[in-house]
């Protein structure tokens, strides 16, 4: 018997979002999942007035700010976790305009729902927002009883709910960003999220695209690299792929070693020549 899919397509987080749910009638759940993503977009965007831009206004002016939006509070708590997880390499407060300011200068008071900073700075959640949004949408679908779903935000952020509709993991391949037909890595996901970050390939040279900054020295990362991270949490996967992309060799090695089958980093400047870990490199 054929397994039908229900699909929701829309624009959010500055990209195209697709939610594919398999088996059963889940129209209401799909709508709720979409609203969950749009809710995150509304809370975290810096491209139009939002709770985040309101906070940024205060932080840039050297003031502390009350955080009224529950989604933003949740995101800030998650950021604290991934900042530690990535040894500070994922830093939504790193910005060349503000010298060495970063997340280490931010103080989040969870109990009082307030945020302040030791230096003027501004928050930009970047790709983390997409993973965070997919996490929330996935939670909505699971709660509604969905057993099999694939969620995509701009193709570089994927999350799956449960197993593939035909059983087993969801098989994904990451094509080489510039070499047609070449594949970097293949794996199967179950109840996991996937994030791909790269400095090369389609869209990376668009004028509006923010530069990748290494928080430790404020340098713009220009090396041809591609990082892939898989994690139970979309937000963590996003933070990890960003961190791997900007990491110096020693820190990249440490991050990769903690999850050798779930984190990958490719040096694409010399093709097929791995940056730090030969064992997990697939010929490109």
């Amino acid at each position: 018997m054929a397994i039908a899919a229900q699909v929701e397509r829309f624009v959010a987080m500055g990209t195209r979002v697709e939610l594919h749910v398999f088996g059963g009638a889940f129209a209401d759940a799909l709508g709720a999942a979409r609203r969950a993503i749009e809710r995150v977009d509304d809370a975290l965007t810096i491209h139009r007035p939002s709770p985040t831009t309101a906070v940024n206004d205060d932080l840039l002016a050297g003031r502390s700010a009350a955080i009224d939006d529950p989604v933003l509070i949740e995101a800030l708590i998650a950021i604290q976790d991934v900042h530690t997880l990535t040894e500070g390499l994922f830093d939504p407060a790193a910005d060349r305009r503000f010298g060495r300011a970063g997340w280490g200068d931010v103080v989040v008071d969870r109990g009082a729902a307030r945020i302040s900073a030791l230096k003027p700075l501004a928050l930009d959640f970047g790709g983390f927002g997409k993973g965070f949004a997919l996490d929330r949408a996935g939670a909505v679908l699971r709660e509604a009883g969905v057993a099999s779903a694939c969620l995509s935000a701009g193709e570089s952020s994927i999350a799956v709910v449960g197993e593939h509709p035909l059983g087993g993991g969801w098989p994904f391949a990451i094509p080489h960003p510039t070499l047609g037909g070449a594949v970097l890595v293949e794996f199967a996901l179950i109840d996991e999220a996937l994030s791909i970050s790269t400095t090369v390939g389609a869209g990376t040279h668009a004028p509006e695209r923010a530069a990748m900054i290494r928080p430790s020295d404020g340098a713009i990362v220009t090396a041809a690299r591609c990082a892939v991270a898989v994690d139970r949490s979309g937000g963590r996967a996003e933070a990890l792929s960003t961190a791997l992309l900007v990491a110096e060799d020693d820190r990249a090695c440490r991050l990769l070693a903690r999850a050798p089958t779930r984190r990958f980093l490719y040096d694409l400047s010399q093709e097929a020549a791995p940056t730090v870990d030969v064992a997990r490199m697939h010929a490109a």
């Binding site: 195209r16 098989p171 094509p175 047609g180 390939g201 668009a206």
Partner: protein, 420 residues
């Protein structure tokens, strides 16, 4: 360009028109274009044209006609001698020259006339041509009054002669392709068109010592023109009617002489709203002191926007992710396959400022095709299907807009128009 290169260019252009007019719905939406592009006219015994009015526009038309397969200019006429003198370089020595159009008509030897005179003369020149047993190609807009527009239609029917008006966008492959994609539902339900024609110049020509201002700058005076409405807006109102597949039901507007206070009588700034059935609207502006937004029609639907002058189509929701589409189909047929994700299909993760997809530009001048279509209609003695209705309604819409602005009140679509 060699003749062979030109033929290739022409063929390519016609192929684009034929491709754009093929398919369900397009036969009814633009029958004239498919008919003209598919005619493959023979070069022998070209249709002999007499051109009345050899000012700037008339001379441009003469040059275009010279590139057609089935038309030839055999007579030219203008009351202003320097215009005729300038036109001589574009016609062969056998071409007869006249200062009076009646003399040209009386002299015979022509099958049809091309009228490129001031707007207020279109009707009279058309009537005289029909009376002389000739077919008429006339510049847009049709006439200075709605009554004269109707009279031109009536006289052409009575005389059983072709009357064609120069709204060349109806032969342009980009517009035809845009219409095809709109009719196919690619931009959803059309509810609004924003059209503008903005320029930054006085629209005033230098008057030679041997001429009068009203003779040279006839577009600036009310007895001879409705200004921006009949010289520019009529093109875009035709596009609006075409895409909405109906004439408007009502128009409101405001016009003013806002910037060029130089004695002109026609508005240099117009803003109008044309209402169509179902609450749809065409919002139109034209002005002469700011060119930033130029000439464009933004055809807005629930799923996307088409901007034909730019040749772009924009989708409200980006295209589907092909890999996920394939995965969905695989699952439906019980097949599990690896899903390639990311890589070369990475989408720029940016606010929706996408540049849009090209609709494709035509390099060949659509004016040539409309003349070839006209010539074939003359040869057949039958007007191109559907074309005159478009022109008539566009001309009426432009003049009705002028009335709405002059009176400061909403004008409803006339119920006494001539049936076509």
């Amino acid at each position: 360009m060699t003749d062979k290169d030109f033929d290739l260019t022409r063929r390519s252009f016609l192929d684009r028109v034929l491709a754009a007019t093929a398919g369900a719905g397009m036969a009814a939406a633009a029958p004239w274009a498919a008919s003209a592009a598919g005619a493959d006219p023979v070069k022998t015994n070209p249709v002999r044209l007499g051109v009345i009015g050899t000012g700037d526009r008339g001379r441009t038309l003469i040059q275009n006609i010279a590139k057609t397969r089935n038309c030839t200019v055999v007579s030219i006429c203008d009351t202003y001698a320097p215009n005729v003198a300038k036109a001589r370089q574009w016609v062969g020595p056998p071409t007869r020259i006249f200062a009076d159009h009646r003399a040209m008509l009386d002299a015979g030897g022509i099958d049809a006339v091309v009228i490129a005179t001031p707007l207020n003369l279109h009707a009279r020149h058309s009537f005289d041509a029909f009376d002389a047993g000739l077919h008429v190609w006339c510049e847009k807009a049709m006439a200075r009054t709605i009554a004269d527009c109707g009279a031109m239609v009536t006289r052409s029917k009575t005389a059983n002669k072709v009357l064609q008006i120069g709204h060349q966008r109806m032969f342009h492959p980009t517009y035809l392709n845009a219409l095809k994609r709109a009719r196919a539902g690619e931009i959803g339900s059309l509810t609004q068109i924003r059209a503008s024609w903005h320029r930054n110049n006085a629209w005033r020509r230098t008057v030679p010592a041997d001429a009068t201002d009203r003779q040279i700058n006839w577009r600036l005076y009310r007895d001879s023109s409705a200004g921006l409405m009949t010289e520019l807006a009529t093109h875009q109102l035709q596009v609006g009617n075409w895409f909405f597949d109906a004439p408007p039901t009502r128009v409101i507007g405001s016009g003013s002489i806002c910037f060029w206070k130089d004695g002109r009588e026609v508005y240099d700034h117009v803003a109008l709203i044309y209402e169509y059935a179902g609450g749809r609207k065409l919002i139109y502006t034209s002005l002469l002191n700011n060119a930033r937004y130029g000439c464009e029609e933004q055809i807005q639907g629930s799923k996307g926007t088409i901007e034909p002058e730019l040749g772009r189509i924009y989708q409200e929701v980006p295209a589907k992710v092909l890999a996920l589409q394939r995965m969905q189909k695989d699952v439906a047929r019980g097949h599990k396959r690896t899903v390639p994700i990311g890589g070369a299909t990475w989408f720029p993760e940016l606010p929706v400022t996408t540049p849009g997809e090209s609709l494709g530009w035509g390099e060949y001048d659509e004016t040539m095709l409309q003349f070839e279509g006209f010539a074939e209609a003359v040869r057949a003695g039958k007007p191109p299907p559907g074309l005159l209705r478009q022109a008539y309604q566009a001309s009426v819409a432009s003049l009705l807009g002028e009335q709405a602005m002059d009176r400061g009140e909403a004008m409803t679509w006339p119920t006494n128009l001539v049936a076509i």
